[in-house]
């Protein structure tokens, strides 16, 4: 498991810490761990071998930086190699000088082409383009219907006909031109790479429409077969890039590495959920951090910057530090965070999460937030400013007003109090004693933010100091956290 890979390598290295350089035997032992982790993540065997060779070269070729233990040195080499294999920096999508820009999607059955077509159309729309969809999947029953339904949700038109896929594609592009659309996305039927007739068909669609971009849509949970598929499609169509779907199933996504490794084309987009908005450009460096369990603090901050009101954020950050944080501020922040997206999704981007925390986060019901809001809304403005006022009778009034229980009110107040304490500590310059691995997270976040633009990959530097405290921090996570989770989930929603 990648989740534990950085941990395992780190543990391995504690025994070698005194030495300045890795011995060959130590290196091989570390690489064996990497190999198992890669294979568990479904990276194809040949790609794994090439990967290990490259890491070996890196470790031997570079001088060990003074600040790194040998284990961290291996992790860094693995991280760098992951970034390189995944495609360096993100691909910039550009547009044809003579519109429309034609995008062709191809892939196996069930990879998610139709949904991806709609998501891609929405993405282009957000870029200020006028996309047009062409449905050439006349094979799967109701595939065009599915495309139409999705397209209507985002207000994009669909062209299709019942003739044959090649004519539909040709006519679709001509129609887009007539309507003055500048991006045409052609959805094709799913096909097996070994199906000669169907591969010939998609080749003639490609020949007819001369796409500027040809993307292979590939399922993140694909196993060893990813290379065969990627290679066969690349041979037939000359891919310009890869779109990986269902990355929310399994963050490891070894298929991405395999496909990328074998066709040498970048992964351009990634789809991370069922909603049409769960789609964005793919960032290799962030994926590498995520694979190694280092979180993706940059995406989190970007998302925050996109959706949050910077002044509100800055103001409440100042308040947090100074300790003058009230329940009103808490509400304001809560609303800002809710704008960023689902809690589960956000938590996936957090660095330093243990596996248990990830699982817990994936199951968080955003409706719980409504309950918290209801409780706070049931307080008077004065109570919100000064929660110490809230005595027994006020508590039961608040509980009644919000349709929750006194216990829930107590819990909220207690946790808010703890929060305030931590924030004060933070403001005082020291790292707070957060429960679980959260202290580590905060530490990583700070450094991750600070490291942006530096040569050190985001989060990596923090790994060094974070890891030392990882073991005890995680151990303490299991107990109280597990209980809390249970307590929270068995509470029936309509408890009076």
């Amino acid at each position: 498991m990648f989740d534990s890979l950085s941990g395992r390598l780190e543990r391995l290295s504690t025994s070698l810490r005194s030495r300045g350089r890795l011995s060959d035997a130590d290196l091989e032992e570390a690489l064996a761990e990497v190999r198992a982790a890669l294979l568990e993540a479904d990276v194809e065997l040949t790609v794994v071998r090439a990967f290990l060779d490259a890491v070996r070269e890196r470790v031997r070729g570079e001088n060990v930086a003074q600040s790194l233990t040998p284990g961290q040195h291996v992790i860094k080499a693995v991280h760098d190699q992951l970034v390189e294999v995944l495609g360096g920096s993100a691909l910039k999508v550009t547009y044809a000088s003579k519109p429309p820009t034609v995008v062709l999607l191809a892939g196996l059955q069930g990879a998610g082409k139709t949904t991806t077509a709609a998501k891609l159309a929405q993405w282009f729309k957000q870029q200020g383009r006028q996309p047009y969809l062409v449905g050439t999947d006349l094979q799967r029953p109701a595939a065009v219907e599915q495309l139409r339904v999705l397209a209507s949700q985002i207000g994009v038109e669909v062209y299709s006909d019942t003739t044959d896929p090649v004519s539909v594609a040709r006519a679709g592009v001509a129609e887009a031109q007539r309507l003055g659309r500048d991006v045409v996305i052609i959805d094709t039927a799913g096909r097996l790479a070994i199906d000669e007739a169907l591969m010939a068909e998609v080749r003639s669609i490609s020949a007819e429409t001369a796409p500027h971009y040809t993307f292979l849509v590939i399922d993140a949970v694909t196993g060893q077969d990813a290379v065969h598929t990627a290679r066969a499609f690349h041979d037939s169509l000359e891919l310009s890039g890869i779109i990986v779907t269902k990355l929310d199933y399994d963050a490891r996504g070894g298929a991405v590495l395999s496909a990328r490794g074998v066709v040498g084309r970048p992964v351009v987009f990634a789809s991370t959920g069922e909603k049409l908005a769960d789609f964005d450009l793919f960032h290799p460096d962030r994926m590498a951090s995520r694979i190694l369990g280092m979180g993706d603090i940059m995406s989190l901050i970007e998302q925050a910057e996109r959706t949050m009101d910077p002044e509100t954020m800055a103001a409440s950050a100042q308040k947090m530090m100074s300790g003058a944080f009230t329940l009103d501020d808490f509400m304001a922040q809560l609303n800002q965070i809710r704008k960023m997206g689902s809690l589960g999704g956000l938590m996936r981007l957090m660095p330093g999460m243990t596996k248990e925390m990830r699982t817990a986060a994936a199951n968080v019901d955003d409706g719980e937030l409504n309950k918290i809001e209801a409780i706070i809304h049931s307080m008077t403005p004065r109570e919100r400013r000064d929660p110490n006022l809230i005595d027994g009778s006020r508590r039961s009034r608040i509980a009644k007003g919000s349709g929750s229980s006194v216990t829930a009110v107590n819990q909220l107040l207690k946790q808010f109090d703890q929060m305030k304490k931590m924030m004060r500590q933070m403001g005082g310059g020291g790292m707070p004693q957060l429960p679980g691995g959260m202290g580590k997270m905060a530490q990583m976040a700070a450094r991750g933010a600070a490291a942006r633009g530096d040569a050190v990959p985001p989060g990596f530097e923090a790994l060094a100091s974070g890891m030392k405290s990882a073991a005890p921090a995680n151990a303490s996570t299991g107990g109280p956290k597990g209980k809390k989770k249970k307590g929270g989930r068995v509470t029936p929603p309509k408890q009076r």
Binding site: A41, D42, L45, T46, V47, F51, V85, G87, T94, Y95, S97, Q109, G110, G128, P141, A142, A143, E145, Q146, V149, L192, V221, G223, Q224, D225, H228, T229, A232, D250, V262, G264, P266, E274, L300, A304, E305, P310, M313, A314, Q318, Q333, I337, L343, M347, M350, T359, A360, A361, N363, V364, E368, L412, Q415, M422, A442, A445, A449, A450, K481, G488
Partner: protein, 347 residues
């Protein structure tokens, strides 16, 4: 109230990160990133990475692995196995998605048992031993109840198509079938099933998109009883296997389908043969949520071998019952362990 901790963690991390950044660059105001101006030219892609670019290397390696295995297979020497032989066996198993843990376990078995009739026979036997569960398919329920086959799985594995094919198979066998279009989430999923119903002559109960899947299945049971149909095939929306809410919904759907007059006699997890190690966690979660009784392995007509089902059967005891090998209605076969193992080893 774990949600509070999560909110707290998010606030602390985001707040801190933003604070650190604003402190570092006080002069710079944080604004939402502007849409980057796109040059109106089409550029070619980043150069392929030479060190991992396949070139002829991958082909050669694949070809050589094939020939090595042929060679090893032809060795019929008795007794212990050479490390080289074990390496080849390992490679073949890993390449067919059997998985690291199961491969290691099988190799351990090989090491202890040796290979009296050659390594190919030994690994074949070991694999067949792993696939020895009962594969019978239940088509009848208790007296007075309607047998239900429930289909579960992640998105895009071919649940709806599988139901269409099984509807064809069962109607051909002379049974009257009612289809329950329980995938009310995916756009046009009901339309897709409707086309299968038209093709096979099966009855279908469907509802609007976004309707409660349980109620669709409940209605289908009513219809099946009223027309004394022999079998209900119930579709469900594809769902990820790592989300408790979606799994809880599935458990609820199963309870509805299992309530009188219905009785769930088979719960099939539909699995795409191209899936890798994630399939094991899928099986685990669906087993817990919906008591899966069998697997339908689809898309086996491609290059994928679907070796992960070996791990699933060994670890969870869920047998494969059907395999999908094409797009036509009749391209669904009963699972044959011998043919499957031979295809794994010919990889």
């Amino acid at each position: 109230m774990i949600v509070l901790w999560i909110v707290l963690a998010l606030m602390v991390v985001v707040g801190l990160a933003l604070a650190v950044r604003s402190r570092r660059r006080r002069s710079r105001i944080i604004v939402a990133p502007e849409r980057e101006a796109m040059p109106e030219v089409l550029v070619t892609q980043a150069a392929p990475r030479p060190e991992l670019d396949d070139g002829p290397g991958l082909d050669r390696r694949l070809a050589s692995s094939r020939s090595i295995f042929d060679r090893v297979r032809s060795i019929t020497s008795a007794g212990s196995l050479s490390p080289e032989q074990l390496d080849v066996v390992e490679e073949v198993l890993l390449r067919s998605d059997v998985g690291v843990a199961t491969t290691t376990a099988l190799l351990e078995e090989l090491r202890t048992n040796g290979a009296p009739d050659g390594v190919a026979t030994a690994i074949r036997t070991a694999l067949l031993d792993s696939l020895s569960a009962d594969r019978s398919v239940r088509t009848s329920a208790d007296d007075g109840r309607v047998p239900v086959w429930l289909f579960v799985g992640v998105n895009g594995v071919g649940k709806t198509t599988t139901i269409g094919k099984l509807a064809w198979r069962e109607t051909q066998a002379g049974r009257s079938v009612v289809l329950a279009a329980g995938d009310t989430f995916r756009a046009a999923a009901s339309d897709q099933l409707q086309l299968w119903a038209d093709r096979t002559g099966a009855d279908i109960v469907r509802a609007d998109e976004g309707a409660d899947p349980g109620s669709v299945i409940h209605d289908a049971l009513g219809r099946a009883r009223a027309r004394s149909a022999d079998l209900v095939l119930a579709d469900t929306a594809g769902r990820r296997a790592n989300n408790t809410n979606l799994l809880d919904e599935l458990a609820k759907i199963r309870r509805v389908a299992d309530r009188d007059p219905g009785q769930v006699v088979e719960t099939f997890m539909v699995l795409d043969a191209t899936t890798g190690q994630n399939a094991l966690s899928q099986a685990q979660e669906f087993l817990a949520a919906a008591n899966v009784t069998g697997i339908v392995l689809t898309k086996l007509d491609g290059t994928a071998r679907g070796g992960i089902v070996v791990a699933i059967e060994r670890e969870l005891g869920i047998p494969v019952k059907f395999v999908g090998v094409g797009e036509r209605a009749k391209d669904l076969l009963a699972f044959e362990p011998v043919a499957f193992v031979d295809s794994l080893l010919s990889a």
